[in-house]
Amino acid sequence: MIYNGEGGNMTIDNSPVITLRDLRKKFADSYVLNGIDLDVHPGQIIGYIGPNGAGKSTTVKIMLGLVEGYTGEVRIFGASPSDGGVEYKKRIGYVPEVAEMYDTLTAREYLTFIGELYGLSFMEAESKAKRLMEMFGLRGVFNVRIATFSKGMKQKVLIISSLLHNPDILFLDEPLSGLDANSVMVVKEILALLAAQGKTVFYSSHIMDVVEKISDRIILLDGGRIVADGSFEQLKGQSQEGSLEQIFNQLTGFNEHREIAEQFVAIVQEV
C-alpha cells in the first residue's frame, strides 16, 4: 500500500543518469573509496548504506563537486563534476546530513534564495515554497527565523529546499531525522511518487527498516567498496538472512553485537 516500486519505469528512457567507474579517493594516506562501479537509472530509489566511515557521504560529495582529487570516472547526466561546469547541478536536489542552513534568515527568505540559486524567479520560488510549507503544516512559521525551529521543522525546510526546482536526482542523507511518524509517512510517499515519475532518489541512512521498505535497490558499501548490490529480495536470497539489518551485519562482518551489549550492561551495573 505504501509503495509500488515497479510502476512507471517502463515509459522512461532508461540510460543511466549516474555512472561511476573505478572511483577512488584518498584522504591523507588511506583510501576512503576503493574502486566504486555503479550505474543508476531513472526511477530508482537507491538505498545507499554502510557502516560509519564506509565512504557514503564522500561518494555523494564527489558527485556534487564538493570533494575533489578523486580518480576514476564520474558522470551525472553525462557531465563530470571535475569539468568545472555547474549546469548539471540544476537537476540535483540535496539534503545534507547536518542541517546546515543560513538560520538567521526566515524560512521564506531562505527558501526563495535557494530557489533563485537554482534558477527559479523570486515569484515562482516564493509561491512554491509557501505552498510546500503549508503542505508540511508550517504555514504559520513561514516568516519566522529558522534558528527558532525545532529539529523536525528544520528538516522539513531542508527537504523543501531540495525539491523547489523539481530536480531529477535527489541526494538524501538521513532525510527523516527528527520527523514525527506522520511526516515520515508523508515523505516516504513523496519519494515513492517522485520515483514513479522517473526521478532518481539516492537515499543514505542508518535506519535499515526504512531503507528495506522504500528502496528498489540497495547498495551496501564497506571499506570503500561495494559489497552488495541488488533488490532486497536478491540480497535476502544471497545471504539467507531475514532482515536488512541482519544482512548488513553479516556482510560487514559484524557479529559480536551480543558480546558488546553484554559487556556494556555489565559496566553499567557496576555502581
Partner: protein, 547 residues
C-alpha cells in the same frame, strides 16, 4: 547608507562582472542575503550596549553602521597627528599604525565569519553557481565593510589633510589607504591559512577569540593613551634614524611616500620604503589569489572535531577541589565551572576584557591622582589602597557566571538529582575566585609590592582578605541563577544599576582599611575581623535570603 544602495552601485558594473565570468544576478542575490544576515548580527565593538533582538522586527538595521561612530572618533583623534606639522614620516607612520591596528583587529573579530563561513560550501557549492561567482561575492562582501570601516576612520584625517597640506597630500593619502586595505585583507587571510594549515579549526577559533578580547581592551585603553600621547611626543623635534628592523613595519612604508613625493626627499631609504608600500600589497594580493583555493580547502578543518589535548587526568584540579570544597557535589561543580570558564569562548570574550581593565584601573588612578613625587614618592604613602579598585571586576565576573553560549544544556540541573543548590553555587564561586579573581589580585599585589616596597605586604594581604569578603557579599546580593544557564543576549542593562551599591561597598572597604592604618594595631584588628567574616560568610551567605 544601506545595503540596497551598495547593490545599486554594483548594478552599474553589471556588464564588467559578466565579462570576467561572474553570474551577476546570482552574485547580487548572494550578496543581498549575506548582508541581510549581517544585519542580524552584533559586532564586538558595540557588544556591550546591545539591544534586545526582537524575533523578526521590521526595524532591522545593520548594527555594523551603528558601530561606525566609534571608528569616526578614533579617526578624529588621529587627525591631530595629520595636522600637527610636516614631519610626515613620523606623523603618517603613526596614523597608518593606528589605522592598520583598528581595521585589522575589527576585520578579524567581526568579519572572520565572512572569510570562514563553512556553510557556504554545503549551501552554495551544491547549487548551480560557479566558483568565480561565489568567490567574487565573498570578496565584495568583505570590501563592502572595509570601505565603510576605512571611510569612517579616515574621513576626518583626509579632510584635515586636504585643508592643512593640500590636494597632493589628500590624493596620496587616499591611494595609500586602498593599498593598506588590500594588505590587511591579504595578511588576515594568510594568517588564517597559516593557522589552519598547521593547527586545527579549534586553534583558529581560539585565536580569533583572543583578538576579539584584545580589541575590546585596546579600544578602552586607546582613549586614555591617545590623549596622553601628546604629552610625551614632540613631533617636530624628532629626527628619523633609520634602523634595519624598520623595514619590517608596514606603517613606515606608508609614511615614507609622503616624504618622497611631497617633500621631494631623495633619501634612498624613503624611496625604498615607498616602493615597499606599493609593491608588497600588490604582490601579496597575487599570492592571495594563488593561495585562496588552499584556504577554501583547509576551511573544511573548521568543521572537523579538532584534536584536543590528550586526556590530562586533571589530577591537580582534583586535588585543589578536594582541598577547597567540602562536599563531593561541591567539588564536582568546582571542576565543572573551572573547565567551563576555560573553554567557553563567549564567556572569555565577555569576561577577559574586564579582567584586563581591572588590572589597569588601579594604575590609572595611581598615576592621575597625586603622583607629584613620581614613582619614587610611592613608598611610604597610602596610595597602595588603590589596589581595591581591581576588585571592580568581581561583580561583573559573578554576573557573567550565569550565562553561556550553550545555555540550553542547563536542562541537566533539572534532570539530575540535585536537592540542594548551595553546593552548586559555592563550588562555582570558589572556582571563579581561584581561577580568575585570586590570580589577578596576586599579580596586581606583586606589582604594588615592588612599587611600594615590602612594607606594604601585610596590608596587601589584608586587602586580599577584604576582597574575598566582598566577593561573597556580591554573590549574595546579585540575583542568583544557576551557572551557565542563561543566554548572553538576555544580559540586561538594568544589572548595571545594581552594581552601583557594590562599588560603594568596595570604597567602604578601602576606607575602613585606611582608617585602620591610622590606629596602632588597627590593621591587625581589621585582618582578624575579615578572617572571621570570611569564615562565617562563606558558610552562611549561600543560604541566606537577601533582597
Amino acid at each position: 547608507m544601506n545595503e540596497s544602495s551598495l547593490l545599486r552601485v554594483l548594478d552599474r558594473f553589471k556588464g564588467g562582472f559578466g565579462k570576467i565570468g561572474v553570474d551577476y544576478p546570482v552574485m547580487r542575490r548572494i550578496l543581498q542575503v549575506k548582508l541581510t544576515m549581517d544585519g542580524r548580527r552584533v559586532p564586538t565593538i558595540i557588544g556591550k550596549s546591545r539591544k534586545k533582538d526582537g524575533e523578526d522586527g521590521g526595524t532591522e538595521k545593520n548594527q555594523f553602521f551603528g558601530s561606525l561612530w566609534l571608528y569616526l572618533i578614533f579617526g578624529a583623534f588621529s587627525s591631530m597627528f595629520v595636522a600637527l606639522g610636516d614631519n610626515f614620516i613620523f606623523q603618517m607612520s603613526l596614523v597608518f599604525g593606528i589605522f592598520m591596528f583598528m581595521i585589522m583587529t575589527s576585520l578579524i573579530s567581526d568579519f572572520s565569519s565572512v572569510l570562514l563561513d563553512i556553510r557556504d560550501r554545503n549551501i552554495l557549492s551544491t547549487k548551480p553557481v560557479n566558483r568565480r561567482t561565489i568567490a567574487m561575492a565573498k570578496m565584495l562582501h568583505i570590501c563592502f565593510y572595509m570601505f565603510f570601516l576605512t571611510g569612517a576612520i579616515a574621513i576626518v584625517p583626509l579632510g584635515v589633510g586636504l585643508v592643512r597640506h593640500g590636494v597632493g597630500f589628500f590624493l596620496l593619502f587616499a591611494v595609500e589607504l586602498v593599498l593598506m586595505d588590500l594588505l590587511i585583507v591579504v595578511i588576515t587571510a594568510l594568517i588564517y591559512l597559516g593557522v589552519l594549515k598547521f593547527f586545527d579549526g579549534e586553534k583558529l577559533k581560539d585565536f580569533i577569540n583572543y583578538v576579539q578580547i584584545g580589541l575590546t581592551i585596546a579600544i578602552a585603553l586607546g582613549y586614555q593613551l591617545l590623549i596622553r600621547l601628546f604629552d610625551f611626543v614632540d613631533m617636530q623635534q624628532a629626527a628619523f634614524q633609520p634602523k634595519w628592523w624598520q623595514f619590517a613595519l608596514p606603517p613606515l612604508w606608508f609614511g615614507a611616500p609622503f616624504e618622497t613625493m611631497l617633500h621631494r626627499d631623495g633619501n634612498p631609504l624613503f624611496l625604498l620604503l615607498s616602493l615597499l608600500a606599493l609593491a608588497v600589497p600588490v604582490l601579496a594580493f597575487l599570492l592571495y589569489l594563488k593561495l585562496m583555493p588552499s584556504l577554501e580547502k583547509n576551511l573544511q578543518k573548521l568543521s572537523d572535531p579538532g584534536s584536543r589535548k590528550k586526556e590530562s587526568a586533571g589530577k591537580g584540579l582534583k586535588a585543589i577541589s578536594r582541598l577547597l570544597c567540602s562536599s563531593p557535589q561541591e567539588q564536582v561543580f568546582f571542576r565543572f565551572a573551572w573547565t567551563m570558564m576555560g573553554n567557553e569562548r563567549e564567556f572569555k570574550l565577555k569576561v577577559y576584557p574586564s579582567i584586563g581593565f581591572s588590572l589597569i584601573f588601579p594604575f590609572i588612578f595611581l598615576f592621575t591622582n597625586g603622583t607629584e613625587g613620581g614613582i619614587s614618592g610611592l613608598p611610604g604613602s597610602k596610595l597602595y589602597l588603590f589596589i581595591y579598585f581591581c576588585a571592580l571586576l568581581v561583580p561583573s565576573v559573578l554576573l557573567m557566571l550565569k550565562y553561556s553560549g550553550s545555555y540550553k544544556a542547563a536542562w541537566i540541573y533539572r534532570v539530575l538529582p540535585i536537592g540542594d543548590r548551595v553546593p552548586v553555587y559555592r563550588g562555582t564561586l570558589i572556582a571563579a575566585v581561584v581561577r580568575l579573581i585570586l590570580p589577578l589580585y596576586a599579580a596586581e599585589a606583586v606589582i604594588f609590592a615592588i612599587l611600594f616596597g615590602a612594607g606594604v605586604v601585610p596590608d596587601l594581604i589584608v586587602a586580599g582578605l577584604a576582597i574575598l569578603v566582598y566577593t561573597v557579599i556580591c554573590f549574595a546580593y546579585l540575583s542568583k541563577a544557576l551557572p551557565f544557564s542563561e543566554r548572553f543576549e538576555t544580559a540586561q542593562q538594568s544589572e548595571g544599576l545594581r552594581m552601583i551599591p557594590l562599588m560603594l561597598l568596595l570604597s567602604a572597604f578601602a576606607l575602613v582599611h585606611y582608617v585602620a592604618t591610622m590606629i596602632s594595631f588597627g590593621t591587625y584588628v581589621y585582618a582578624a575581623l575579615l578572617l572571621a567574616a570570611n569564615w562565617i560568610l562563606w558558610q552562611k551567605a549561600f543560604t541566606a535570603k537577601l533582597p
